[in-house]
Symmetry: C2
Subunit: 520 residues, 2 copies
Amino acid sequence: MKTSFIKNAAGRLVPSRINGEEHVPFQGLNRRRPQGRKARPLIRTCVDYPANGNKLVTSLQEALERAGLKDGMTISTHHHLRNGDALTNLLFDTIKSMGVKNLRWFPSASFPCHEHLIRYLEDGTLRHIEGSMNGPLGRFASHGKMRGLGVLRSHGTRYQAVQDGEVHIDIAVLAAPTADAFGNANGVQGKSACGPLGFALADSEYAERVIVVTDNLVPFPCVPWHIQGNHVDFVVEVDSLGDPAKIISGTTEITKSPDRLLIAEYLARFVEEAGLMQNGFSFQAGAGGTSLAFVNFLRARMKARGVKARFVRGGSTQTLVQLLEEGLTDYILDGQAFDQAGVLSLRDHPRHVNTSPFTSYNFHGKGNFASMLDVVVLGATEVDLDFNANVVTHSDGYLLHGLGGWQDCLFAKCVILAVPSFRDRVPIIVERVTTLCGPGEMIDVVITERGIAINPRRGDLRQALSASSLPLRSLYDLQKEVYEICGGAPARPALDYEQPVAVVKWVDGTVLDTVFRVVV
Amino acid sequence: MKTSFIKNAAGRLVPSRINGEEHVPFQGLNRRRPQGRKARPLIRTCVDYPANGNKLVTSLQEALERAGLKDGMTISTHHHLRNGDALTNLLFDTIKSMGVKNLRWFPSASFPCHEHLIRYLEDGTLRHIEGSMNGPLGRFASHGKMRGLGVLRSHGTRYQAVQDGEVHIDIAVLAAPTADAFGNANGVQGKSACGPLGFALADSEYAERVIVVTDNLVPFPCVPWHIQGNHVDFVVEVDSLGDPAKIISGTTEITKSPDRLLIAEYLARFVEEAGLMQNGFSFQAGAGGTSLAFVNFLRARMKARGVKARFVRGGSTQTLVQLLEEGLTDYILDGQAFDQAGVLSLRDHPRHVNTSPFTSYNFHGKGNFASMLDVVVLGATEVDLDFNANVVTHSDGYLLHGLGGWQDCLFAKCVILAVPSFRDRVPIIVERVTTLCGPGEMIDVVITERGIAINPRRGDLRQALSASSLPLRSLYDLQKEVYEICGGAPARPALDYEQPVAVVKWVDGTVLDTVFRVVV
């Protein structure tokens, strides 16, 4: 059947029906008013659960059987084990062996280690994936080989979709680096320690059945309980959840590239010179090499000026932990930990605080933490002349990255994209982004190694920087220069505009853009 | 209109309609299967909340107006400020001044300090109270002066009622000893520090509008956030929430009464000699003088035998804190703090852990903590020959106490009632309890200063104690002796069995018994 498209308020063509269900096209920023009430799980009774609190069952298969697994269900997992996750592959191997078919997999993200699951997309065990598809799975989907349409949601939008009842999870299977037999679980203890478990929060609250799988079973109570056992139906013990070396980095690495270091230095200078680095301020930056370098440069400036942050947002790293330990921030509010130092600090430091997509990102709540941030530094795969940005596809059309918390972070008071002006001789600043992930109205500054462009909407920032020696330029200027270096615009991708392979949701649950099949 | 009654499975007459709504009579233990799905709050959107996270409004009145206060609504409060609470009186003074009428007040408990509110029950500002009525309000209700019927629920049952949609809260007004302008709140910091805030959890999650009121506003983030700002609509700052000296005791006091000390010693001996005091065991006792003495006696026995508990349940006190600090328990799991030492320990000790009626008591969940306890020690106002017990009325029929977590705790593996055999020459062991709060099947042991009665259903306990020198007796024996001392049974209360004044709910939401008007 041919897909019919609607042009949404961002001028993008989006399907009106996605996997057989109606979805609302993007209506413009802050236009959609949600209707109705949240999803409501079944009322359970203690009569049906063991009075001694022991919910252990002997195997994942038994847990799935008792959870009522059957064809067509939605199975969710979280991605806190990142590329070290062995559980999800084991899960679908088990499901395959049970002969169950046609499932929707609803991960909070998928990683290259999940390439293993392509066989199940091919043989019909899995119908489709809703969740970010990094690397091989994205490539598979880009070739139009996935039966259903991918649905890409940010961390906050995933919470919103579950909370609002848009996605009903039948069975959540939650990897727990430490758990007790009641189902209380955390991610900061045990050999597979990964940091917070917040990406599994919505699943634990709203899934019909919740299975906790652990390789470090401790006597009740497992403290802290980032996942509450009162939401859990079954607990399964396994030898290993995955490869600790791939679950978290030993240490995250600061960039050594001169271009990236220059971007990082511009970032720190910009934050200070724009007047954003004030006592009690807050910021969030990622765990990439440029971001880490930025935090180090900023730290030096904070020390020099005697400025202290009230809070910084993780993903936590050694670099952020150092800020906390040096007293340069009162708190780290942490949604995930990227290295060993981040995990240990979250475990041991009382002001390194666990957060979740509910506290930080859910747009269908009574406010969230993201919009309180003074500064956020983000990356992008493409930025266009209207400051629109892309993070999921490359200019060749391939879907290779997830949204993460990227869209959610666009609500910060000052949003800075830190990008090299080109990668592998492909310009990053382009005329029109291949896929729209963030509307340009929400992006305030683009910082490259060749100069800094301030969104014309932010006259206040331009004003604050009027005496600065930073290389302020227009995006148009930057783009012209980069096109000259690279020999023009990126090659137009060969896309089949009749065949969508995924959609990008906006934080309010509307459909922002479509990813199309790459013709090979 | 005459109330029509039904005889429930406990043989008690209960009204079939309560305040105009259908309620299910008690059907026997573990018989009721809940149907349907949980309550579901409205979906909100960040569009309607300040992006900078500042939800402060200038006054309680403004907050109530913006929350849409109107006649007939249900207003909830928590009782963590106990008899030091000044906010609730201020709240209803404000509501009175706004001219709003006919409200249902849904506190997690009320205290003598709330005697002030009798005027509002009289003038129609309040229609009725659903929640425990300690002291003066209970006496007022007992005289048949409250318009609506009181509904007494345990801490767990209150959570269940809100979660299941049986009680819809329009506006929750939550006292917060510390909060930020986003609404994150805790009870462990500030001049009005009271300990946990768990009794307000259901209110924060399910109320249509949530107002946080604090006398210690801190910059975001308020850490820890026992109440999550993401549930909060408005924040109000006031000078004082109440009288710190009445919010918590400076110290809780161990009994000096020889009879109570004897009971406490019997308790400790019983727990050891019954084989319950084993490495890794758990127990809960109250904050009364006998309970504290029991814990001290038990501590000595634990030390003597080299036994360590895995966890103890609060309400926390200096006495429990000492166990934790001496390494005699791994954890305190705490639902409320009764003294200064309890509050400070919860604030500072990483293994003194905040809990809530959701984790500990909710019977309509996937298990709860209460049933995992090895031993619980509870009080009672009356126990009858079938081990049925009463905690809300006295033998004169007056409703003077709340249920607290008493019913929820009956699910522990060994439930011990510690009671004096008589009080003020009124026997406590009686032929039939005035009000049934706990079915005798759930009560394993009654310990008095005159002897110990083991429920015949617990042959295992009798067996374990076969060689003990403890004074094991039948309840019948004890009752006979006590009647002789006191000159017979308690005087029969003068009750009007046509006029119910309150009902006692069971943990599954069914109606267990009725409290009738006292004729004066």
